[in-house]
């Protein structure tokens, strides 16, 4: 079971040992042009998680390819590059420029940043154009803020994505205790942490059933048990986000806890735990039969 970081939740160059404790490092989203990001304040803690409105701060693809990627390549950890853009052509161009770089193990398409129109047709177009531009494995990262995420996942599958990253943050708002004004400079921001877990579970569950694609599950994982639940919902790998902020040792801890959880399940290999929530088990069949019998009486 691979453990990755969620894009934007770790800088491998400032914390290389943390990156090396992962099975792959996912970069902060890279865009065609440099972006400074949003004005501070950009983060706010909330009751069961946090909000961020960093604003895709990144050096842009030119500087990323020239300076950042070679240094990431020296870390001896597989590198996934997250890319984001505002047009289909720009996504394809980003993928094209990463295609011949040996440091890149996979590309994650961030199609869920707030400024990208997140409708199935659009996601399908982005994935199709990106697919045509690269032979690298493509993972498409979806927003849970959509009426039917399974439909978006099917569009991405049809367009040739190799896998799905589920889920991105969902917009939330926090107000200052005294002034009742938004605590983030931009107003709302992406909600992550424990509050996101049930939302992530629902998305992984629906997309696994709809597509059968490999899924990197993320959203509020703070323990091996949380990771196991996402795996049972259908994730083949998991990614850690907000927990890395409070505990840079989380990858090793969660890896050990997950191993223990899977061992106590008695399913053998960890792969056998993937999608367990969907399986018609003997126990649930029995329960259903009993319920049916009772309803007859």
């Amino acid at each position: 079971m691979r453990i990755l970081n969620a894009s934007g939740c770790l800088d491998a160059l400032t914390a290389p040992a943390v990156a090396r404790s992962l099975d792959a490092f996912v970069t902060k989203t890279v865009t065609p042009l440099p972006r400074e990001g949003n004005a501070p304040p950009r983060i706010a803690e909330v009751e069961h998680g946090m909000l961020n409105s960093i604003g895709l701060a990144n050096p842009g693809i030119d500087r990323f390819l020239a300076h950042t990627l070679p240094r990431l390549g020296e870390l001896d950890v597989p590198v996934w590059v997250s890319v984001g853009a505002f047009t289909v052509a720009d996504y394809a161009d980003l993928c094209d420029r990463l295609d011949d770089r040996p440091e890149v193990d996979a590309i994650e398409l961030n199609v869920s940043c707030p400024n990208v129109d997140d409708v199935p047709a659009s996601v399908g177009e982005i994935v199709a154009a990106s697919r045509a531009a690269t032979r690298k494995p493509l993972y498409t990262k979806l927003s849970p803020a959509t009426a039917d995420i399974a439909e978006v996942a099917r569009a991405a599958q049809k367009a040739g994505t190799d896998g799905l990253s589920l889920v991105n943050t969902i917009l939330g708002l926090a107000l200052d205790e005294q002034t009742l004004k938004p605590r983030l400079s931009r107003g709302a921001g992406g909600l992550s942490g424990a509050a996101l877990k049930p939302i992530a579970l629902a998305a992984v569950y629906a997309c696994y059933a709809a597509t059968g694609l490999p899924i990197v599950g993320m959203g509020g994982i703070a323990s091996g048990r949380d990771a196991l639940e996402l795996v049972a919902a259908g994730a083949a790998s998991v990614a850690l986000g907000t927990i890395l902020f409070s505990d840079p040792g989380a990858p090793a801890r969660i890896r050990a806890e997950l191993a223990s959880e899977i061992a106590s399940l008695g399913v053998g290999s960890s792969d056998n735990a993937i999608g367990l929530a969907h399986a018609e088990t003997a126990a649930t069949s029995e329960t259903a039969a009993r319920a049916a019998a009772m309803s007859v009486q």
Binding site: A15, P41, A44, V77, E177, L244, A256
Partner: protein, 277 residues
Amino acid sequence: MSPLLPRAGNTRRYWPLAGPSPASAAEPALPNDVWSGVFRRERCRVLTVETIGPYTLLRVERGALNPGAPGQFFMLEAPARPLPRPMSLCLAPPGELAFLVDPIGPGTRALCALQPGDGLAILGPLGNGFRLDVERPLLVGGGIGIAPLPYLSDALGRPPAILGFRSDGHAEAARLVPNAEIVLEPTYVTEAITPGHDVLACGPEPMLAAVARLEPAAQLAWEAPMACGYGACYGCAVEIGGELRRLCIDGPVLSARAERTSDRLLASASGRQGGSA
């Protein structure tokens, strides 16, 4: 235990599950590894919790944590809160670390409610501290911004200090800083600074901006909301040298002259007293 799995040989995909033995549910194992060659994370036991005016001085067992340089900070787990809180080190007696906390929000209130014997995870030391190669040091602090000054004072041989507070109650914290002159609002610390010193300052942003105007060579310890403290979250971006940079790894101590934080940052600051909520 080392949490970092050996990455010898092939590090490609589909790593098998491996790692240290599972942690117990009651007391999750914390990695005691050196993360970047400098900082570590440890579970520390609270020794004493002392009220000083409106503030709380939290003394914890140091364990294997390095106290670092004055002006560096640690991320303190805030009980039952999602994110830790950045705190500069206040005192470093042998075997201990002490932090001065202002209970202004849910996280700092939870820290102040800790009891002797409680445990909390602490990560650090983080960031860049004060340069100590100064000839005529003058420490300047405002409110909870005096927090790093006791440790700094020790390191510099108890130089003179000027501390500004809102009230007599807040000024009780001045007893932590040797050789301190106290000014109370409406008098400002800048009115008490005499020329010819190497100023090292920490306090609310308007105070630091005023000190920077008066003493362009001053070293200033800034503050920003911070989720991680080690460069991962990009939450603490401030404008340094004309671009947004992460205060946790480029600061928190900056030179007023070379890297003056611009008016744009100051305009975005709410002007509230320093201190993590």
